[in-house]
Symmetry: C2
Subunit: 129 residues, 2 copies
DNA sequence: ATTGAGCTTCCAGTGACTGGAAGCCCTATA
DNA sequence: TATAGGGCTTCCAGTCACTGGAAGCTCAAT
């Protein structure tokens, strides 16, 4: 398979696939013409990474998860630990965003949003009490 | 004021303040010795940016908000528009994270997390049905 | 023979910093 | 007066995960 087909099948753009090769996530072979020659396992790996990325895992997490996936002597506890840590990070992020959302929505609601210059959003940002 | 004092008072690290000068957010004067000489208005601006950043506004948004703040002929509708757009972006982000959280938490709950290798997290990522 | 699509590499840019190195400036102490 | 330290300066490079673009090779079809 050439990169285009792999891109289509995995949903990952060619550029990104090349980048993943650069950083050693996949190691496709090469055909005589210099084109990358992907095997099924490469496609499989890329799809795996695509799904992990969609769940927000970092590239380093993906690397870890891939190696656990390929390690038959893994313990599921190792996988779970990675996932739980990521879940915690997601929760922290959500909490942070919700706190921003809270403040911001109050400010937006308080701003009349007309042609007049006075604005509680700017007042807040400028540190007025 | 030197950069250290401004950093302490605004809560923004010296490195970041220099960066903000680089990109033209603040334009402190210079003392004879080459040190940056911040006035009260510079400190005020930096604190403004610090609060805007804490609400998740991008640097470009901060630039816009600062210029609106300094523009006496602004209309509050302009400020509100920026804030509402950002609020929408935050909501999108939260929704995306919650969707990840949803999937991930189910997977984590389903993984027994012991010494055995079989793991529903890896199964899911590998595309098993 | 030529087009056009697809592939290759390499370089640069994104956002918003952050770390580090090399070196000047200022104050205090021995 | 020498020196030690801390603070300041600039510049370069790295972060994360791509993404865009340029120059050029390959391949299949016309």
């Amino acid at each position: 398979m050439n990169i285009g087909e792999v891109a289509e099948r995995s949903g990952i753009p060619p550029k990104t696939i090349r980048y993943y090769e650069d950083i050693g996530l996949v190691r496709p072979q090469r055909s005589g013409n210099g084109y990358r020659a992907f095997r099924k396992t490469d496609l499989h790996k890329l799809a795996f990474v695509g799904r992990a990325r969609a769940l927000g895992f970092s590239i380093e997490d993906c690397r870890t998860l891939l190696s656990l996936y390929e390690d038959e002597s893994r313990e599921s506890a190792q996988v779970k630990a990675v996932a739980e840590e990521h879940l915690t990070a997601i929760d922290d992020k959500i909490a942070q965003l919700q706190s921003m959302r809270e403040t911001l929505s109050h400010l937006v609601a308080a701003c009349h949003g007309d042609h007049r210059p006075d604005c509680p959003i700017l007042s807040d940002l400028s540190g007025e009490l």
